[in-house]
Symmetry: C2
Subunit: 342 residues, 2 copies
DNA sequence: CTACACTATTAACACGTGTTAGTAACACGA
DNA sequence: TCGTGTTACTAACACGTGTTAATAGTGTAG
């Protein structure tokens, strides 16, 4: 019942040549003279037997797995509610498939980071890795720089010389906040996307403050909250803003996902968007435009971010030395209906 | 600079034993008597050298990759907008990690299915696979039954004897529709989640019809539309329902994601939810409860579906023969605010 | 002293491929 | 005849592990 495994030896036997020749022909190795006739024979034999090379053996022999890993340093809960994952995966898959690579997904628990990074790489199941939204304080990450492994970070890591692909979070947040100011708002609250230890959260708040300061408005820490990725935390932080006693006519929520929860809190408080309060999002997740009202937000090119990271990684592994270690993609303000002119 | 690779031979040398002994000790192979003393020596040596076995070589020797594949037969576009992917991944990762397996993501283009399935399996990069929402007419899938590979389908495949994990889509849709009837609706439209060739879409429409018939209401094909997974298609189908000239007081949308678009269309038409039209969703994606109004829907246990599929697959590979080939998980009606009592 | 069992360990092979060094076969000019 | 290339291959090793059959070493009964 279990079909006999077809090896290159079988192909060689059928074609009446050596196993070496089979390898040379099928891999189209240059620098070897092989008759067109025998080439045909080998290809025919391979076709007839339905020969599919054993990828594991190839990996062992060539010392490259032809696979890259997407490594996430998050809890299962956060993975489950990450609205970007599908886009990122889509971007990665497309590139990876085009280059005949495989994609491995790995999540490392914050506790075991030290060991897990090493195992992943040294076990040689992957040739390189793409690191997703690492924490600023990720010490284990530092060690990666000492390891001879190709790594591209999605999201920037301060003081690191790893390759990275990211948007300019600070500038994007600044532009978003500036827009609110431009249409007349001066009392603007802020809910960031994640705890301040995450670089993206930190930078977005900085951009928010930049815009305020540039217009002569003094930022107040009491009007800033740090959410925790998911809608529920947005709901909670918004209520927390209410109870702070501060007045505001607009709120910049540095994550559409978090904004979903924030909006629910506004609704619960009987406030209307944008009539009573304007809300500015960040990310432009697929549901933002179908929200009620359609959410004004900053488009984060998630898919392209992923595919560019992947291309960069492949370049790196191919031996080339890309000029810009830190690739920065553009964001775009997407004006919809959730912000009102004052 | 590139650190010398540490092999089991190095460990053996340092410990003063043979490579075989190293393997026996580190893998804790039973049936061999080895002094506790040498065990210690080997473990110490391994620790000191930071020995991490080469997974590829292990895979080749043991003939199992210790990896499973998540295989999706979808276009990149549909992957990017799939709201379940994060939950599924989360469920899979949790189980996979617990069993020291790796997770490989693969998407196969509908055109090349025949060959790709085979390559995936025969190349032996994975020991088994989980198939996501296959199409009813997927002929290549049929061949999998002939191959000696462990496969678990998420979503049911008619007339197949592959193992599967799914919910009872028909029953769930019936209960959802029944709820609408129970609160007084009789003119109920339906927008399914996907083209009819997808089993889940087909079954959900059947359930919808079941409920109508059971209450003496004649289903009309003019009140049924088939969407295409994403919000945009929901938007389009809802407008299509308007132009059909049929009147309805409620609509059952067999996908929350599609419902997002449908709601936008209702809004554009100046209809209020649930005052003018009640809307029932399906899936309970994370954003459903933060929608305005919070969406009444049917909870699909996506994460559990994934983890159960994974557990089933692991059982299968371990050689056990599970009693129920087709596991069916329960759904639950989640009543929120998008449906009004007539 | 011999035969035998038992213990702790290892030599040797297998897994399926890529790749380098080498070799027969043949032609060709001197 | 001999040396020199050239062509078209192939034998043999490497990759790093798991696993089986065998082997020294040691006590024990006959």
């Amino acid at each position: 019942m279990p079909k006999k495994r077809v090896t290159s030896q079988d192909v060689a036997d059928l074609a009446g040549v050596s196993r070496t020749t089979v390898s040379l022909v099928l891999n189209d190795v240059k620098g070897f003279k092989i008759t067109e006739q025998t080439r045909q024979r080998v290809r025919h034999a391979a076709e007839k037997l339905g020969y599919i090379p054993n990828a594991t053996a190839q990996a062992l022999a060539t010392r490259r797995a032809k696979a890259i890993g997407l490594v996430m340093t998050r809890s299962p809960h956060h993975i489950a509610s990450d609205p970007f994952l599908p886009q990122i995966l889509s971007g990665l898959l497309e590139v990876v498939k085009g280059h005949q690579f495989r994609l491995l997904i790995e999540s490392v628990e914050p506790e075991h980071q030290d060991r897990e990074y090493l195992e992943l790489v040294r076990a040689k199941h992957i040739d390189g890795m793409i690191l997703l939204t690492p924490r600023i304080d990720d010490t284990a990450l530092r060690r990666l720089e000492e390891i001879d492994t190709f790594t591209v970070v999605m999201g920037k890591l301060a003081d690191s010389n790893l390759y990275s692909v990211d948007v300019d979070n600070q500038l994007a947040a600044r532009k978003a906040t500036q827009y609110l100011i431009d249409i007349g708002h001066t009392r603007i609250a802020c809910i960031s996307n994640a705890p301040a230890s995450f670089s993206s959260a930190h930078e977005r708040v900085l951009g928010y403050k930049d815009a305020l300061v540039a217009s002569g408005i003094a930022p107040e820490d009491e009007m800033i909250r740090y959410a925790d990725f998911d809608p529920q935390s947005g709901f909670d932080r918004m209520k927390s803003l209410f109870t702070s006693g501060r007045e505001f006519t607009a709120v910049f929520v540095a994550s559409d996902n978090v904004a979903m929860g924030a909006k629910a809190a506004l609704r619960e408080a009987g406030l209307r968007i944008p009539d009573d309060i304007s809300i500015m999002g960040f990310d432009d997740i697929p549901w933002a435009q179908y929200s009620d009202p359609p959410l004004t937000t900053v488009r984060l090119p998630a898919r392209e971010l992923a595919s560019r990271a992947c291309l960069l990684l492949l370049d790196l592994m191919r031996g080339s030395d890309p000029v810009d270690k830190n690739l920065v993609l553009d964001t775009e303000l997407v004006v919809r209906k959730s912000c009102r002119k004052l």
